[in-house]
């Protein structure tokens, strides 16, 4: 039972970690609390769903397409809204992302109605039974993809010049400009990557979760808390925060009461930040 819970927790946690990393990237680079990240996940789910319905493309195969499309959508949103908002006060930036999420949810509601949908044709299904642990194959997909995406992101941020430029921008914007980094490009790239990651999370979540315009909202708060738990702008911290959040979510749901798992998560968060105001891995 405990092992099963740990497994389920890590699966949910790996999806939360994907959202959290996007939020952490935006938070770290441009110091904006992005409330629209959950909606990017939701759009990713719908792209996957329609690709699957029209051409029977498996969610895994639609990941590259969804990622690229979400990257472009993210760039567009950055260029039209966020770039302008960054000149204003911090609070109005946050409110703009909130209003954006409202627009996206309700725009989606108009386009596709609030009907609950699930993906019908998937390649990986069935279960693997170890006796002490039952793994449904649908849930292995998010886990694998999440680990892969995280590895690629770590590699990108730490080893490539573009990634280093983004990190430099997040450390000190003016200094980065002085050494010739195009910070504007870094900002746009960071926002695009964050959207793309959320899109990928949507793809893998669509594997076993129901699809509805408000699906992203419930993941948003957990994602935000995971980031704050992990520590300011730290992508690694966000990943660990996400996994932790998933574990707490499942354990509280199984051993206490499903309704109070949100309370458990929120209380844990408030306790942690009261004791360590910069999060678990913050400096």
């Amino acid at each position: 039972m405990v092992i099963q819970c740990i497994f389920e927790g890590i699966v949910i946690g790996s999806i939360l970690a994907l959202i959290a990393m996007g939020i952490a990237l935006i938070w770290g680079v441009m110091n904006v609390l992005s409330f629209s990240q959950g909606e990017f996940l939701m759009i990713g789910m719908y792209i996957t769903f329609f690709l699957n319905k029209k051409w029977g493309i498996d969610p895994i195969l639609s990941i590259p397409f969804t990622a690229i499309l979400m990257f472009l959508i993210g760039l567009l949103i950055y260029k039209t809204l966020i770039r302008k908002a960054l000149k204003g006060p911090i609070l109005s930036q946050r409110l703009i992302t909130f209003a954006l999420s409202m627009v996206l949810v309700n725009g989606m509601l108009m386009l596709v109605t609030s009907e609950f949908r699930t993906i019908q044709k998937i390649t990986f299904s069935g279960i693997i039974d170890f006796g002490f642990l039952v793994i449904s194959k649908e849930k292995l997909v998010p886990l694998t993809v999440s680990i892969l995406v995280t590895t690629v992101l770590f590699f990108f941020m730490n080893k490539t010049n573009t990634g280093k430029a983004i990190r430099a921008t997040s450390l000190d914007k003016d200094a980065a400009e002085l050494v010739g980094i195009n910070t504007e490009f870094s900002y746009a790239l960071a926002f695009g990557i964050a959207s793309a990651i959320a899109g990928i999370a949507g793809c893998v979540l669509a594997y076993y979760y129901y699809i509805t315009p408000t699906a992203g909202t419930s993941f948003l708060l957990f994602g935000l808390i995971a980031v704050a738990l992990g520590g300011f702008g730290s992508i690694f911290g966000a990943y660990i925060g996400g996994i932790l959040m998933g574990l707490v979510d499942v354990f509280a749901g199984v051993y206490f009461n499903t309704a109070f798992k949100y309370v458990a998560v929120c209380v844990l968060f408030m306790l942690v930040v009261s004791l360590r105001p910069k999060g678990l891995f913050g400096k």
Binding site: W27, N31, L33, F35, L81, K84, A85, K87, G88, P89, I90, L91, S92, R94, L95, I96, F98, A99, L100, M102, V103, V105, N106, G107, M108, L109, M110, T113, S114, P213, L221, L224, I225, A228, N257, A259, F260, Y262, V263, V265, C266, V267, F269, M270, V273, S274, P277, K278, G279
Partner: protein, 332 residues
């Protein structure tokens, strides 16, 4: 003796003129919808002004004031339904409870800064919502319906006409507007502004920052709770998704930001504009599911994007040559 309330004559004239206009205006309205909009404006104005103390003056942006709104609403609801108590009394009990909770939670949470404080308050409000959603004594997800005609309507604050509501709410708006104006130029107001500009410097010149932040948080919690009580009596039905969603917490900020945060009149202006936009888009575009909130969101984005300092900055030409705080200079 130090003058506690520093209100100049010019303000009193403007205030009385505005109040008179607000009193007379409903007499020309014959249909219920505009009056409903005006009642909601009052509610949002009270909330915006309440939030303004902690979010605007003290600069500690809370995204969880829906908790206090819900507590105010529930205190009145349970008071009428389970104890037959008058909302005139229970609304103050709600204020006390809210201030108590703000005191207990504020002490650890106010040590956090920026986004962390926002997220922690958000988590606080979500906690409250889930607890109320699963607490059978307060009705759980079905909420409480406390419509009661057995007692005189002035006692239960439940009227058949919308006019009494409007005038009661208007009274509270005027009261809190005067309170804000009084505190705006008081020592308390300047302390809060100093904390907003730079907390460390404020502390180094001898301001007890933790105490004043906590006071501001409690004050704003109390006022928002009052708004919740009034709204509950107007609606006579409450459930956690009506009075405690994340949207309410965000919209309280939106009201203040739209008008101009840290100003006396800002939240009132914001409430007027935002409520008119939201209610009329709701009434006009509700034939397609989601279209009204879509339009509302787009309008909010446009206003916040092009007027980041609020609508009040349009009227305040003085803003141009005002002294900038270090924080604002840094941002330029």
């Amino acid at each position: 003796m130090r003058k506690f309330i520093n209100i100049n004559k010019y303000f009193i004239v403007k205030f009385l003129a505005g109040l008179l206009a607000a009193i007379v205006l409903p007499l020309f309205i014959k249909t219920p919808f505009p009056l409903h909009v005006m009642i909601l404006i009052c509610i949002w104005a009270i909330m915006g002004m309440g939030w303004n103390f902690i979010g605007g003056y003290a600069g500690q942006v809370s995204n969880g004031h829906a908790l206090f709104y819900g507590i105010g609403a529930y205190t009145c609801g349970i008071g009428v339904k389970n104890f037959g108590a008058s909302p005139w009394v229970t609304m103050w009990i709600g204020v006390m409870i809210s201030m108590g909770i703000a005191f207990v939670l504020g002490a650890p949470l106010l040590r956090l800064k920026g986004h962390y404080f926002a997220l922690a308050t958000m988590a606080m409000a979500e906690c409250g919502r889930i607890i109320f959603l699963n607490w059978s004594y307060v009705g759980g997800a079905t909420g409480i319906d406390f419509f009661d005609r057995s007692k005189p309507s002035w006692y239960t604050m439940q009227f058949t006409s919308k006019y009494p509501y409007y005038y009661i709410f208007l009274f509270f708006v005027a009261l809190i507007l005067l309170l804000t104006k009084g505190l705006d130029k008081s020592k308390f107001g300047y302390y809060l502004r100093a904390i907003k500009a730079n907390e460390n410097s404020a502390q180094s010149v001898g301001i007890h920052t933790a105490k004043y932040k906590l006071l501001a948080f409690m004050l704003s919690a109390g006022i928002v709770s009052l708004a919740g009580s009034l709204y509950a009596n107007y609606l006579q039905y409450i459930d956690p998704t009506v009075v405690m969603p994340l949207n309410i917490s965000m919209m309280i900020c939106l009201v203040a930001v739209m008008g101009g945060i840290g100003t006396v009149i800002g939240p009132l202006v914001g409430a007027i504009v935002l409520t008119i936009i939201s209610e009329y888009t709701r009434a006009t575009f509700s034939y397609i599911n989601g279209f009204d909130l879509f339009v509302y969101g787009v309008l909010v984005i446009i206003i916040v994007l092009y007027m980041p300092n609020g609508l009040i900055s349009l009227f305040n030409k003085k803003q141009k040559n005002k002294i900038l705080t270090p924080l604002e200079m840094e941002r330029k």
